[in-house]
């Protein structure tokens, strides 16, 4: 059996909600030894965010926390105290990576900024993830996931297509859940992996500055570049596919993509070659696109008599790209999801056994291992503090009473 990808990589994570914890999770799920540092008693704010098992708020039953913190160890530490800071420094002394999401400057004031850490451990890779990065006029601006998402470029153009046609006067829309936060975490994880890769040849660790806004801007790079180059501003009104897009069907919605000739042919075939598709103005690709409103209307008429799964499988058999709009439950239950092994069971001492999504990648040599569920608050204090740092039992009691751990 091969070594896990990041086996032997020591990571300390000071992160909350979704972005920094997801970065830590991505490394932990690939075998890194990630110790999550949480404030005593309260923990990561994700613990107070739903959804909860049975809708009962409980710091060990938050789906967000459980998902974003798999395979990590967890300790509690108040590093605003002198002894707490000392413990954190001891943890960081031999760490490879620090992931943190504090407001820029906050750790410097505490004597835990990059320069101080580098002096102690030049090999350390410090990954800082904040809404606007470590520099610039907005670096200390306050931003919740809603604000960051709308400052990233994609928000302004959501929803396009049918969503805009139906609600042209509504405000721009946020992508569901913590999309922008996860993207920032994923973007940070690339940098962590690359910095680890290059560390021996570069000769040192480094400070990685991740702006959530820029992580989102990069996703929209093609659309965003059109303004400086062409003066073109994409809005919800112009954001639409040539033929097809999101369309209603018998039992919900499907996405129909028929912009290539062979895709259009496939669609015509499964619609049973209705007479209108044989008319010259619809046969010709250019005039079809010019008449897309009518064409889309005619497709929808046909779609409404069919279920999304019927259309999906039939169209795909005819080389036409159609996708059913699945609920999460349908996505989880789909035969494809099962066959790929995207879901995995993981036992947790409080919420029990649950099925978790894993990741989009499947490595032939180093399969993802879900060895441990998200840590309970302070679950690994003893393991980390006494076994790794050699803090005595008596001292642990003192530190606990003093509110340090």
């Amino acid at each position: 059996m091969s070594k896990q990808i990041f086996e032997g990589v020591n990571v300390i994570e000071i992160g909350e909600i979704a972005a920094a914890p997801y970065c830590g999770k991505l490394l932990a799920d690939l075998g890194a030894d990630v110790v999550k540092v949480e404030p005593p008693l309260i923990g990561d704010k994700a613990r107070t965010r739903g959804p909860f098992l049975g809708d009962v708020p409980n710091s060990e039953q938050s789906a967000l926390f459980l998902y974003a913190n798999t395979n990590k160890r967890g300790v509690t530490l108040n590093f605003d105290t002198l002894s707490g800071k000392d413990i954190l420094l001891r943890l960081l002394k031999n760490a490879d990576v620090l992931i943190e999401d504090r407001e820029p400057g906050e750790l410097d004031i505490a004597g835990l900024g990059y320069e101080a850490l580098r002096a102690m451990n030049p090999q350390l890779i410090m990954v800082s993830i904040t809404p606007f990065g470590q520099s610039g006029p907005y670096k200390n601006y306050k931003a919740y996931p809603l604000n960051t998402f709308h400052a990233g470029g994609e928000g302004y153009t959501l929803p396009g297509g049918l969503g805009y046609a139906k609600y042209p006067d509504r405000e721009p829309l946020k992508m569901a859940g913590y999309f922008g936060e996860y993207i920032a975490g994923l973007t940070a994880a690339i940098a962590a992996a690359c910095a680890l890769y290059g560390r021996d040849t570069i000769g040192s660790g480094q400070h990685v500055d991740i702006s959530k806004q820029e992580a989102l801007m990069a996703l929209s790079r093609v659309v965003l570049a059109r303004y400086p180059n062409e003066g073109f501003v994409e809005t919800r009104a112009v954001r639409e596919l040539p033929i097809g897009g999101l369309m209603p069907c018998k039992d919900g919605f499907a996405v129909v993509m028929a912009f290539e000739a062979r895709m259009w042919e496939g669609l015509v075939e499964i619609m049973g070659r209705p007479a209108w598709t044989q008319e010259e103005r619809y046969k010709n690709a250019d005039s079809r696109v010019a008449l897309k409103k009518e064409v889309n209307g005619l497709i929808i008429e046909w779609l409404k008599a069919h279920t999304k799964d019927e259309v999906y499988h039939q169209a795909q058999a005819h080389d036409c790209a159609v996708g059913p709009v699945y609920t999460i439950g349908e996505a989880i239950g789909s035969a494809q999801t099962r066959a790929q092994g995207f879901m995995t069971d993981l036992q947790h001492p409080i919420v029990g056994k649950l099925e978790y999504p894993t990741a989009g990648y499947h490595f032939s040599r180093t399969p993802l291992l879900f060895k441990r569920p998200a840590p309970l608050l302070g679950q690994h204090n003893e393991e980390v503090y006494s076994r790794r740092l050699g803090i005595s039992k008596a001292e642990m009691v003192e530190l606990r009473l003093a509110g340090v751990i």
Binding site: I5, Y141, Y178, T187, P324, Q336, Q340, T358, H362
Partner: protein, 406 residues
Amino acid sequence: MTPMPKYPLSGVRILDFSTQMACPYGATLLALMGAEVIKVESRRYLDSGRRPPSRSVDPKVINMVPRFNDNNLGKLSITVDLTNPDAREIVNGLLRIADVAMANMRPGKMDKLGLGYADMRREKPDIIMLSLSSMGNQGPERQYAGYAAIFAALSGLSDATGYVGGIPTEGRATIDATAATTVAFAVAAALYHRKQTGEGQHINLSARESVGALLGEMYLDYAMNGRNPTRKGNEDDVMAPHNVYPCVDKESWVSIAVGSEREWQAFCRVLGRPEWITDARFADPHVRWKNRAALDSAVAEWTRTRKPYDVMHALQNAGVAALPSMSSKDLFTDPHSQSRGIYKEFQHKALGKRTVIGPQWKLSATSLDTAKPAPLFGEHNELVFEELLGMRRETVQEKEQSKAIY
């Protein structure tokens, strides 16, 4: 003497056999980290990413597609027809000097070309191969075609995104870019592993799953409570105000989110409505959230006579989260993104002056001046065939004649 490595992935060579957006952009991210990426393409099956709307394959036109430039920054391009048996020795030579190969053909297609993982390993035992497909290379739907909107639909993201009581939302190019970002992480991780162990491997990456992985808490909510998410628009489960509000100009909007009591009080003062602090409808977070519709219309009344940036400055000065919903114009002209230097400018041989979004990371030890133009079609044939592979000029000409180089 070997020069000092400049970038994290200096010395890594990637063969990019991929087309369209998700996989090519994944390779671009690695180029932005300093890898040398060689795009292997052919006019026999031209990358549709190079195709302008006119569908022309005119060599001048195919070098002038802005979208292709933005998705293929800093690569080299060579023209090799993989379906031509006479191209085999070139391909084998490339594999022997490569660290990574990336492809996004439908599962099985690379094997048919003699370029499956097993074939590649014969030439380069420790190669890392990444195969990106819509659905993954296992399972009943593995041959299905997909584009961004389809990954978003299948993963549950489309269904979860939308206005309260509204319809699902169509996913677009950002979803391709999401798969690409996942691709880059997976390859970087495999590179690290190879450096430690000497072992390459094959990565099967499913675009639809790469989107599903960003919906983890919703998947777990289903596992815990058997429940699908409801569409929440810009609303939050706890916070109010928490929405995007109209401003004075057409299509100008500002996002505002109020978390703590301190923020709420500051918010009320900035709006000139200190009486809201004790108003029975808004006095604590719970009633505020329950009465969020009334609160949202009152807030909109205030924003509607103002500009997004004025709202932002007024509220941020008081420690309240507010930002414009930024268009491409706002972002380019914004003092923050300008000061961060995220936009990069260069001369593209066919397009002229181009501005692009540069690398999305800032590294203290390695300045990432890696945002370079995308290659012209076959721009680096000579460099790669003659300098890297050591082919003689005559051999190259023979291969051109047999259309192996094409």
